[in-house]
Amino acid sequence: MVSPLLILAAGLGAAFILGLLRGTSERPAFYVTIAALAAMSFVALSWVVGLVLGQTQPVEILTAGARPPFAINLFMGGAEAALISVVTLTGLLSAFYMRADLMRLGRRAMAVLLVLIMALSGLILTRDLFNLFVFIELIVIATAGLVLLSKDTRALAAGFKYLIVSQVISILLLVGVIFTYHAHGSLNIDDIAATPMAFTGASLATFLVLIALVLELKPFPANGWALDIYESAHPGFSALFSAASGTAALFAADKLFTAAGPAWLPLATGVGIVTFVGANLLALSQSHDRRLLGYSSVGQIGLVLLVVGQKALLGADFAYVAGGIVISHAVAKAGLFWLSGMVKGRTLSDWAALCQNPALVVAFATFIAMLTGLPPFPAFYAKWVLVHEFAATGQLPMLAIFLIAALIEAGVLFRWFGKAIKHDAQRSLTYHLSRETIVLIAMLAGWGLGWVWGALSDQGNVMTALPLLFALLFLPMDILPARVKNAIAMAGLVVWFVISYQDLDPLRLVFMIIMMLGGAVLFLASFHHQGRRMGFYAPAMIMYAGMALLLEAFTAFQFFAAWEMLTIGSYFLILRGKESEPHALSYILFSLGGAFALLAGFALAAQGQRIFWIEDLSELTGTLAPWVFVLLALGFLTKTAAMGLHIWLPGAHAEAETDVSPMVSGILLKAGLFGLFVLVMEMGHQRLYGVDLTHLLVWLGALSAFIGAVLAAFQEDAKRLLAYSSISQMGYAVFGLALMNHLGWLLAMMFAINHFVYKSMLFLAVGGVKERTHTRLMYQMGGLITLMPLSFVSVLVGIIAMSGVPPLSGFGGRWIFYNAIMSTDLRLPMVLVFMAGPVGFLYLFRLIHTIFLGQPKDNLRQVKEAPFWIILPQMLFVAFLIAFAALPGMILQRVDRYIGTLFGDQPLVWSGRIVNSAYGTWNPVAIWGVIIVVFVTVLGLLIWMNHNAQRVKQFNIVFSAERPFKPQTTHFAWNFFAPYRKAMGFLETPVSTSFWTGVTNALHGTAEFSRKLYTGNGQTYAVHLLLFVIAVYLISMGASS
């Protein structure tokens, strides 16, 4: 193995060789630079490979032929090799990236770049305290030099501010170093580690050294100078500054914290958490892309510092967690800065230019997922281990703060992503093939690292999950025509169902049928789209992959990974809608918030166990169990959009594309329901402060059912109406589930199936109408029955099914429902749920009445029936509804028997096609018979009377002298239920919306206020720095005394 010293020698030697070249020979100089950086990367990578394969051992490198501590020594181990690889490779790629500017400034700039990379590697390698200082100063000077690469004249001021601050830091560091030497008689870090200093006044030297290194990490709020550099420097250099310098400085800090001993770790934890929270909070109000990236870098480095603070607790996991976050951050941040060099404008919405290039959009999404710790990237695994560690050691406040800050970070990044995807580009991309190549290399590195971290994980590798791989296949396949991809996607879902359905219990089987086969049916509607439909199939399939994996998850980790996967896939899917930007953002934030609640719940439940089986939830006892229940329920209820957590749903479902709405409504909501099923099945009744939590769920379900229905009745937008109706329907299901008896569960199951069928059908029908009329506002439609008869049929069948009148399956649901609530003693929620029924009828009536009946509008007299591919699945659903109504036993009987085994009772008696319960009999076939007879009779009567009818010409309900202010107010169907609104309007007061808006505004207000701290004056920044040091000093002295 080549000596790691060659990394340093190659960098330095090449820098000196550059001086020998002619001043005008930029091209050879550039090649020398590249060759040296490549050689350095090669040495570092060969060490990584050698160490991983076990061909070589970590090695201590002596200089000057003397033993440490008498001569400087270096150390090359696994962490060092990996981080130097990150540093040198970032350097190599950035050199290519900055090629034009390096050539412009000539060989001196290249020499500076080489020395920077050399010094960063040296910082990682060295084991000598003073040598560390020398490398830090080299990095400072090289940084000040490379800032000048930027054509932005403001960079000059930024560089100077940086130098001022560095002077202060080096004063503190030097004083610390010399007193450390005096105390230990040695400058060797390992020697210092051998005799750790207690955290007392006498160990001020250690404090000064540590605080100086912490300051190098740009802790919040003493970091205005660093943000200025991020904002104004050349993006290629900012990539280095964030990815390479940040990484090396973190490692140096980690080295010294290790040497200082465990007593000092709280310092890292404290500064880390403050920085992570503060930086992300301030990033919220940023509109400048590079400054936002700067804040995000600061935040991420704070996060790693926080992990460093947990070093003693994490033990053997430390390298895995810290490394996962550091390397994820380095790759993603370098990639984002490189991307920013291709975007001309500097506001967040200027990133819309990326949409011209799908590969770059995928790269952008990848980097953001890496930063937010989504599967399958390393930070995801790291987050999992870290949260479990917090929970196992009882650091619950820390756990909460960490998750909240992570959520804010996700908010910052996804807000940006939404803007980039949805806004119109003002200026096009500055395109260079080489720059794109570099960005794509970073992206591939990200995926590769995801695989590596998965392989190292003891929880299993997300990247080897077949459904996910299949979904990812759609990324390269995106160049195929949409219809081909559609067929492949459908086939994939069906095949997955066929190969996996045998291992499932009936409960999971039902969900599997809904999600996989139902998904395949819904894809029929997607055949309507021609062309390529870029960016649709990969997210859709990631969502389905998440659901497939969710049903087969046995450990908490598998469950959580699948959960995040379906969340992220559906987010991208929802984001595709025309006006969906704010709704998609609130969707991802609520979903991630819910996911974090799940994570916290699982972590609390696991209590340090490496592998936690879902079924072990049932064995939880003691004071912890109800809290686990609350957290998990919160997570699942976010997905089912229970009242209070529902505000994301109407927008997200209504704004989604025609064929996406049924996917996210009919299918995705079932994931939450499935989670709740698993939860109540495993944990049953839990009591918190004497309250049975399932009773709370009953109430929540009933309220959701009732209020959701009321709100739906007041909507003018047909898709929003259906969306609110979903809230109501999910409320029924939650209610049934929470009853905790056999019939309740059967009811929930029935609702799961029914809701999927009729909500998919209705969304498709309304979507089809929208395709033709180009509006979703019901009062702008009317009389479409003759123009779109098939859509009418499916809406009619849908609302019959949904309202629970005979003969369709909704009635079966109601029948079970009445049976279920008869057997419970919760009267008040029962009344609420009862009342939700008639209210539901109000909105359903409106749907069919306003859209299809009455007079057609003049501008809509020519519309045609909805497209074939949108009608086809509706007709399938109609057929299914009729069949399911007649023969409910097909599915229900199996589920019923299965639930019976759980409760040990069998309240329903199935005899042939007749179902008996303690309260009555349900004979679906007989009902059909009766209905058909009645229907045919009435129809005949009507036809017979029809010849007497006369056509209505036109009508107008506006009386003379009335002054309508808005055109729609003249239509009778506008504000249709005004009288009810008067009576029940208070329910419409957007209490939850204003609550969540208040939270958001408070966060933004704090950010807007606190960022004024950064005055831009270099002197003030130096004052901040000293203030920070003094504050940390006083706090830590106070804490230790």
Partner: protein, 120 residues
């Protein structure tokens, strides 16, 4: 008070003095000069830590035979460190001066509070 303590007190005073100058003078050149004062203070502190009362410089010639070195010389390490520190301080100062020149060229001003267009 011993010599090394006087030197150390002087060093610390120089550091504080230099920092005070750097934090209160708006003029960039004055700030740079203040920082050189502070780094000089650091260097004095460095050397004073390595001083052992009554010993001579760590050069082994006729005055200090090799055999007696361990009991006759002062600590050589801080002296080696201070050389490095001086050189680095000089490098940073030169760099700051060059920056000051460019800043002045760009804006015609040497007032640090004129260079605040990057903020928030």
């Amino acid at each position: 008070m011993m010599l090394s303590q006087i030197a150390m007190a002087l060093g610390f005073s120089l550091i504080l003095l230099g920092l005070y100058g750097a934090l209160t003078n708006r003029d960039i050149i004055r700030m740079i000069v203040s920082f050189t004062i502070a780094s000089t203070g650091v260097n004095v502190v460095l050397v004073s830590v390595g001083y052992l009362p009554g010993r001579s410089a760590p050069i082994l010639d006729e005055a200090v035979p090799v055999a007696e070195a361990a009991t006759r010389i002062t600590d050589p390490v801080p002296q080696a460190l201070v050389l490095t520190a001086i050189v680095i301080g000089l490098g940073v100062t030169a760099l700051m001066l060059a920056y000051a020149y460019r800043l002045f060229r760009a804006r015609g001003s040497l007032d640090i509070s004129d260079f605040t267009e990057l903020k928030w």
